[in-house]
């Protein structure tokens, strides 16, 4: 695959920051509320058992509702999830190999525990990555850091996080430029071998370091004292409380009543 296309896909991430500038009610909601609910959602997803599959499906309602009320472009969010989920999936990929106990018999076909837990991990990663992506697209990274701080995370940590986030983009941009320069001068395919990669990476890190430093200088030159000020000041009011409590109740309910199973029982109860 071409580096340029990876670069493009990653640069596309910056669109997330633009989306966060939107004006829907969800955008205006205090970041703390969105952060808490998302964390609670992720906690709920993670708390399911190893073989849970159908039980988690109703949770999809959260990302879907948030994305549509926040007027986020569904295709874009889906692409981001597809790009990020594989990292989580790598972990799950080994499960079918290790866990071969057959759990479900569909006629002659036996589905092993490995495959079920694999699907479980797949669903989990889609749900958590989706929720996190939507949180960032609705709130913006600086505001999330600020919310973390207001919720008691040490200042040092949140400032580090904000910088990490900024430098990530710097790294991506520098990487893009560097790879373009390399491709343009590597006539045909010669010189594009793996051999030219090592110095490239070293160069990339040095350049990123240098630029990050100059950007930091520019921030200091404009009165930066370690705190990102936000234009949208908000407070945790009644709407936030309603939002947080409402979703929390929904998650708890979905967690303890396996909705598809209940439905199934109702349906089979009727038919039998």
């Amino acid at each position: 695959m071409k580096i340029a296309s990876i670069h493009g896909a990653l640069l596309d991430f910056r669109r997330m920051e633009l989306l966060a500038g939107g004006g829907t009610a969800l955008h205006r909601l205090d970041p703390r509320a969105k952060l808490l609910v998302t964390l609670f959602f992720i906690g709920t997803v993670v708390s399911y058992g190893k073989y849970a599959v159908t039980g988690m499906i109703p949770l999809v309602i959260f990302p879907v509702v948030m994305a549509s009320l926040g007027e986020l472009p569904p295709g874009y969010i889906a692409r981001k999830i597809a790009l990020l989920s594989p990292f989580a999936l790598v972990v799950g990929l080994f499960n079918p190999l290790f866990d071969r106990t057959v759990l479900i018999h569909l006629g002659p076909l036996g589905i092993s525990g490995g495959w079920i837990s694999f699907s479980s991990i797949l669903i989990r990663s889609i749900l958590t990555v989706g929720a996190a992506t939507i949180l960032v697209a609705l709130t913006g990274f600086p505001a999330i850091c600020r919310a973390l701080e207001q919720l008691g995370t040490p200042r040092l940590l949140t400032v580090q996080l904000s910088f990490l986030h900024r430098y990530l983009f710097v790294l991506i941009e520098e990487g893009g430029r560097l790879s373009r320069g390399r491709e343009l001068r590597a006539f045909g395919n010669r010189g594009l071998g793996i051999g030219s990669f090592a110095p490239l990476i070293g160069n990339l890190l040095l350049r990123t370091w240098g630029r990050a430093e100059r950007i930091h200088a520019a921030m200091l030159a404009r009165g930066f004292t370690g705190e990102f000020h936000l234009r949208r000041e908000s407070r945790f009011g009644g709407r936030e409380l309603l939002f947080t409590v409402g979703w929390s109740i929904a998650f708890v309910a979905l967690r303890f009543w396996n909705l598809p199973q209940l439905l199934g029982r109702v349906v089979t109860g009727i038919t039998s």
Binding site: R214, I215, A218, L220, A221, G223, F224, T225
Partner: protein, 260 residues
């Protein structure tokens, strides 16, 4: 206030790799003055400017801004007083939108609400990019980035404006606009430029750097007429002071100056 705006005493700078970029630089710039710093590539102009708001620390000598010596404790004051436009606009723009970027400085100064909005709009208008306020800085053209970078500094309403090659990469119209803007700027201005016509137009005084030392410091017109000095420092006369290549006639402006 009778302190000079900027005062450099025996300023030297040695980069960690051993390059001596500046050697024993001393000069003062008085309040309200407009000064150009010129010199060939690598002469040390950018290095010099980066000392004026403490981005680089001196390795010898001292810097005073409005009489206040630059030191760790005075950095916040100095940075509030000196607005700096870097040579590379990509280093200066880091927020998700142009508007956010311009608002970054005033927010740090404690501005909010209406006042903040007004500051941002005004700065964007002054450099003619109000229509780009919602765009992402990394999606702008080179010249647009440059103008956005200038807006971010104007929004801070600095007392001393320092710009590293403000007109590089601008189209003629934007350049003209910027020259007008700089001319009207009421406070102290210091900038480097390879655009010597702009220097001639805006700065009564010019400082020539050559290999890290001050080669000349004086009235701009005198410096541009010193052919030896220009040749020694790898500089050329501004176009407006060169003869017309077609008819050989010296420009009107030059004629005026010869009468002075």
């Amino acid at each position: 206030m009778n302190h000079p705006a900027v005062e450099l005493c025996n300023l030297s700078h040695l980069y960690p790799d051993g390059t001596v970029a500046l050697r024993d630089i001393s000069f003062t710039v008085s309040q309200g003055e407009s000064v150009a710093i010129i010199g060939a590539n690598g002469a040390g102009k950018s290095t010099l400017l980066l000392h004026l708001n403490g981005v680089l620390a001196t390795t010898g000598g001292e810097v005073r801004i409005n009489g206040v010596q630059l030191a760790k404790g005075t950095l916040p004051y100095v940075r509030r007083s000196v607005g700096m436009v870097f040579q590379e606009p990509d280093d200066q723009l880091f927020m998700p939108t142009v508007h956010d970027d311009v608002a970054f400085g005033p927010l740090n100064l404690g501005l909010t609400g209406r006042e903040l909005e007004r500051r941002v709009q005004e700065s964007l208008h002054r450099v003619g990019i109000a229509h780009l306020r919602g765009k992402a800085p990394y999606n702008l053209s080179g010249g647009e980035k440059k103008r956005a970078a200038i807006a971010t500094v104007l929004a801070m309403a600095p007392e001393i404006l320092v710009m590293d090659e403000p007109t590089s990469g601008l189209d003629p119209h934007a350049r003209r606009q910027l020259v007008g803007l700089l001319r009207e700027f009421p406070h102290t201005r210091i900038f480097t430029s390879h655009d010597l016509d702009m220097v001639l137009e805006l700065c009564p005084r010019t400082i020539v750097l050559h290999e890290g030392v001050v080669a000349a410091d004086g009235p701009t017109e005198g410096i541009f007429r010193d052919d030896d000095l220009l040749a020694r420092c790898r500089l050329e006369k501004p176009f407006s002071m060169q003869g017309c290549p077609v008819c050989g006639k010296i420009n009107q402006r030059q004629g005026d100056m010869d009468q002075i």
